[in-house]
Amino acid sequence: MGIRFREVSYHYPQNHLQFHQAIEKISFQVSAKGEFIALVGHTGSGKSTLAQHMNALIFPTEGSVEIFGHSVTRKRNRKIRYNDLRKHVGLVFQFPEYQLFEETVEKDIIFGPLNYKVPLDEAKTIALKTLAQVGLDESYLNRNPFNLSGGEKKRVSIAGILALDPDILVLDEPTSGLDPEGKRVLMDLFQSIQFETDKTIVIITHDMDLVYQYTSRVLVMNQGKLVFDGTPEKLFRTAPLTEYQLSMPETIKVLQAINERLGLSIDIYQKTAEAAIQAIKEAVRQ
């Protein structure tokens, strides 16, 4: 189970307004459990187009995307209930405004479950639970989502997707625009959701520090092609980052500068400031 891309391409008809980047012959697999994946790449590399294939929001022009046993191809298949696929894979948009539309937070969160025929009482219980999961208390239930701060809106939009209890959660730039504290809180939240429920989480991000600290696998898109699939460790040690228009995490940049300038041989591949400090202490003792 999970998601399997087989030679997936997505193109536009000529003269079509370009809302999505084209992608070329993409093949990879995401398991239904326990993965924490970062999807990275320059602006316009096709990350969002790829992500929207993961829950059949758009259909491939060529190839197929197998989502929990159902093959999604160019032609719509009447036997597949696409909405049911979307229950397995929840997609959280970059801008919560695209997703939130009800007048209260509670209505927004129960909208999905009600759509899938969950009884109202039960949906309300779910709303309370998922709101707590994203770190908001019940006083938020009756608030208008549009009066919330950016970070709060993001959490509500995530709660709305969690309410459908998807196996795989795909989040398009969940931390962009958040301050450092907000980023940390949200990433810790994903980590704990994953730890407690074993859901697979896929985040699209430009933040190499978060990629290095939190995720266990990185997919790199470059000009519509999938050019790297491996651990963050391997990415930062071996991949041509400049060619991919990516950069090193700050820890590595700083340690590299120290080595160059002071002629030390600190192991630069450290994920956190604390680990970097230890590595420096060890290196200077040698």
Binding site: L17, Q18, G41, H42, T43, G44, S45, S149, G150, G151, E173, S176, G177, L178, D179, P180, E181, G182, H206, M208, D209, T242, Q245, L246, S247, E250, T251, K253, V254, A257, I258, R261, L262, L264, A273, E274, A276, I277, I280, K281, V284, R285
Partner: protein, 268 residues
């Protein structure tokens, strides 16, 4: 005469709590100031007040010696440009050329002069080969540069970057920061609104907002020596200083690394 002079400014949306309180801030021509603060600290509101998108509840704002009032706003806005977070939200034209022209059209710049200026400023931001391109096909960094060209064409003296790099990929972001440095070198006053500490290191002066008030306002090198103030304002330290804080001040070898890290953050 100061380029920006903000005196006793407060702001709130009708009947709500104060978003900004007692803001006093003077910026001289050619300064590069980073305005830092957590989400909701009021930093973007401050930017909107400066460009006249919002009006203070009390207090005054003067740009280049002229008080912002409903009568002067139209003229004064020409002196100050703003680049927003989402590059997609600032495009109106069907080509890069149209987009650079848009601001000038509003100012009724004669056609001949406008064409020259489009060429001139497109070259300046390195976009002259892409004038006929549709903005939606550009990279994030290119879009931000087009936005900057449009603003420069109005001959602004002040540029505000309101979290302008936060949606860019690492390469576009480095490109934009390098470009802002060249604007700074040319004497344009730069106000950079951000919560990214690595980015703030490029500025000469840091202004920290916390819960709507100015919490710190000092030269970069002075303020970075008070790391606790950043933590109190719910901001991170730059990575080099986070690492530095864990190294010994007495051990000779660690001290050498400490000293280098200090140099590293000061030199940007």
């Amino acid at each position: 005469m100061s380029m920006i002079n903000i005196q006793d400014v407060t702001f709130s949306y009708t009947g709500k709590r104060l978003i900004l309180k007692d803001i006093n801030l003077t910026v001289e021509q050619g300064e590069w100031v980073a305005i830092l603060g957590h989400n909701g600290s009021g930093k973007s509101t401050l930017a909107k007040l400066l460009v006249g998108l919002l009006e203070p509840k009390s207090g005054t704002i003067a740009i280049d010696g002229v008080l912002l009032t409903p009568d002067t706003l139209y003229e004064e806005r020409k002196k100050i440009g703003i680049v927003f977070q989402n590059p997609d939200n600032q495009f109106v034209g069907v080509s890069v050329r149209d987009d650079i022209a848009f601001g000038m059209e509003n100012l009724n710049v004669p056609r001949e002069e406008m064409l020259e200026k489009i060429q001139f400023y497109a070259e300046k931001v390195g976009m002259s080969d892409l004038l006929e391109k549709e903005p939606s096909t550009l990279s994030g960094g290119q879009k931000q540069r087009v936005a900057i060209a449009g603003i420069l064409a109005m001959q602004t003296k002040i540029m505000i970057f309101d979290e302008a790099t936060s949606m860019l990929d690492p390469t576009s972001r480095n490109e934009l920061m390098a470009y802002i440095s060249t604007l700074h070198d040319e004497g344009i006053t730069i106000i950079m609104i951000t919560h990214d500490m690595e980015e703030a290191l490029y500025a000469d002066r840091l202004v920290v907002l916390k819960e709507g008030a100015i919490f710190e306002d000092d030269a970069k090198a002075t303020l970075l020596r008070k790391p606790e103030r950043f933590r109190e304002a719910r901001l991170d330290l730059p990575m080099a200083l986070k690492i530095q804080s864990g190294l010994s001040k007495t051990d000779e070898k660690e001290k050498r690394v400490r000293d280098f890290l200090w140099e590293f953050v000061s030199a940007k």
